[in-house]
């Protein structure tokens, strides 16, 4: 009984967590007007719509003489007309097949399949609007993905993001391993103080460091003659911002190892480096993988730090920046945002699935103390 309740609760939580993703996914296949008009859950059902259709102008139709009958279709795709009208306030006053008379002369009829015919001796009806209600079959489009994937420089931005995220994950992971070992198993004065300092550093918002760090890079760049805004600078920044969490997770994982095991290795004559590389590191791999997933996703999704230390130029723009710029100056083209989200999610998903079996274990290792 209790087991079932837990199952139900889990199923509910999973549903709540994945529902927005499903919604975003469906939205990524809808066009701008549809998104503005209705919710994503209506995407698969036929829609009732009332619309306007402008009759062709006489002048535009070469060869059509005044007084002749104008024909055509109000529907561009599949669908059935349920009613039509000649004023916007009574758009479905007439049933399909009935004949409506314009106030200035001329008549119009629309049949259920969308075909209209206008007969008009006065030339009054050309260019006028008629209105119709229609039941339209659901439309889904790949257009958003085509726009996003076809955006100029997207491939380059993908590589830029990789060039940012991979070293920014590896460098802090390597440094943190050594630091965590020292903080967990080597005895030296002030160790506890150092550990608490690292924990405290996690609470410092990185935004505070942006201007001082960039100033430092600029003056160092001027003094030694290198470009202030570069990948190396960004890697160092990400390393600094990621280290406190990395050290914290790894130190907790390492100090959870049984002390007797370390002692035994020491008895056998192993030095600190051998203990670290042969004993401790293999046992803390799950925690390391857990941190790597976190850090990779964070640096991949990061926009602010990359813009500050790398700049918004075309050749260094990261993927998040490129997708954001697609939205336009006023941020209105957000049908592209949904498609863009699924494009940019591809890399973190790969990393996550490659490392996911470590992830849960790694997190538990981190919090068990």
């Amino acid at each position: 009984m209790r087991g079932r309740a837990v199952d139900l609760a889990v199923a509910l939580f999973v549903l709540i967590c994945t529902l927005p993703v499903v919604g975003l996914f469906v939205t990524s296949f809808r066009d701008k007007d549809q998104i503005a008009a209705s919710g994503w859950w209506t995407a698969f059902s036929p829609v009732e719509e009332t619309r306007a259709f402008r009759l062709p102008d006489r002048g535009e139709e070469t060869g059509v003489l005044l007084g002749a009958t104008l024909t055509g279709s109000v529907l561009a795709g599949d669908g059935r007309v349920t009613g039509f009208g000649i004023t916007p306030r009574a758009p479905v006053a007439f049933a399909p097949g009935e004949v409506a008379r314009f106030s200035g002369g001329g008549t119009v009829t629309v049949s259920a399949d969308g075909a209209f015919s206008v007969s008009d001796r006065s030339g009054h009806a050309g260019g006028r609007r008629i209105y119709y209600g229609a039941r339209l079959s659901p439309r889904l489009t790949l257009g958003n993905y085509v726009t996003v994937l076809g955006a100029e420089g997207l491939g380059r931005s993908f590589l830029n993001s990789a060039a940012v995220a991979i070293p920014s994950t590896v460098i802090p992971a390597v440094i943190a391993c050594f630091a965590a070992y020292a903080l967990a198993w080597m005895r030296f004065p002030g160790r506890a103080l150092l550990v608490s300092a690292v924990v405290v550093l996690m609470a410092v918002p990185l935004q505070m460091a942006l201007i001082p760090l960039l100033t430092l890079y600029n003056s160092a760049g001027q003094a030694f003659g290198f470009e202030a805004k570069s990948y190396v600078g960004l890697w160092l920044a990400h390393t600094g911002f990621g280290l406190p969490l990395a050290i914290f997770i790894l130190r907790n994982a390492m100090s959870a190892l049984p002390g007797a095991m370390i002692e035994a290795a020491r008895m056998d004559g192993a030095g600190d480096f051998v203990i670290f590389s042969r004993v401790v590191l293999p046992l803390t791999l799950p925690a390391l993988a857990g941190f790597a997933v976190f850090q990779f996703i964070w640096t991949w999704n990061d926009l602010l730090v990359a813009l500050v230390f790398l700049g918004p130029q075309d050749d260094t723009l990261v993927l998040t920046g490129r997708l954001l710029n697609l939205l336009g100056s006023h941020g209105g083209d957000w049908q592209l945002l949904a498609a863009g989200a699924f494009v940019s999610i591809a890399a973190p998903l790969c990393v996550f699935f490659a490392l996911q079996r470590y992830l849960v274990r790694g997190l538990l290792a981190g919090v068990s103390r």
Partner: protein
Amino acid sequence: MMTRLTCAVALMAAMSAPAVAENLIFAPDEDARFDWAGYEAFAASHRLEGERLSIFGPWRGQDRALFENVLAYFRAATGVEAVYASSENYEQQIVIDTQAGSPPDIAILPQPGLIRELAARGFLSPLGAETAGWLRENYAAGESWVGLGSATGPDGITALYALPYRSDLKSLVWYVPDNFADAGYVVPETMEDLKSLTERIAAEGASPWCIGLGSGGATGWPATDWVEEMVLRTQPVEVYDRWVTNALRFDDPAIVAAIEDFGWFARDHAFVDGGATAVATTDFRDSAAGLFAVPPKCYLMHQASFIASFFPEGVELGRDADFFYFPPYADTDLGRPVLGSGTLATITRDGRAARAFIDWLKTPIAHELWMAQTGFLTGFKGANPGAYANETLRRQGEILLNATTFRFDGSDLMPGWIGTGAFWTGMIDYVGGKPAAEVARAIQAEWDNGE
């Protein structure tokens, strides 16, 4: 000869900067709408091969592509390797970059308040008295623009720091001509007519207005435009100028009355699509759709010129949608005030290429090239109105050129924590039902408290 030189330069630029495809969308010398003579004169006097120029601006997406097309001509004319970049949080980024000492050469910004702040801290270079004189002479309501672009530098001297390039017109009311014709409405010439039209539509059982204040983190800004319009239409322009600098208190009866004038439209359930409660929750981008719904959800919408890019696909401006000037009251004598906004170019790192770019913005063709691509209005009298891509833009340009008074969006002139903070939230409180006097007092209290 000159043409061949220009072509050769274009070719050279194309080869020296392979990452950027040189693409001159209007072939030089062919289209009579453009001032090619001025272009060639500019090219002849600004030869700067090999110089680099980084430009930072607010345009992204489609706008960016249009600006790149204009920039291609600057590259071709001068040989400068000009690179444009933008980002979503450009306001923060320009502050970080200037403060840390790695600014772009040119920064194009839409907030005069931010420009003043940067100038006061010495991050901008003055454009010089000659440019100020040029602006005064050649722009409609030139004195307004000079005042807008001027700031006090760290040395305490007030000078021109920013040159306007691209304007948005806010004093517009959008409507659908077919719906007006069907219902027998006529475009109102005075505010009194507009109010009686509003009452008439409501009496016929329809909603006259679409008003949406939603805009993500910036929710509330469309209401600030309304209030600014009302201040300009009920008070002399000096009151407006004193208001935006807080020389006139925010809770002054004149301002409270303007807020209530906005409330006449927005707080009446019968006057707004969805009722007054929907005003704060409707996104301004979505509210445009109500105009085009069948049957119409509303007949009128007050919004800036750029809103046309949010109209549903297939809407043809001038035929399916049109606009009229948001009219002044007939019983006041305040002329035809125009509210707008726009982007201003500043020099964040001085150099020959940066100066050349400012000179470029003073040539008619720099304006005409963008006018012909849509999405651009200018108050520059020297640019050929015939270059506008369509009749709608031409008429909007005319409103700008005929303005007796041009005033910049007040919320962009006020300090950030008011203009993009307390004013926005205050307006949401106001449409939510709080009395105008109380809202104004709260905003004034924020202003007194400082940042």
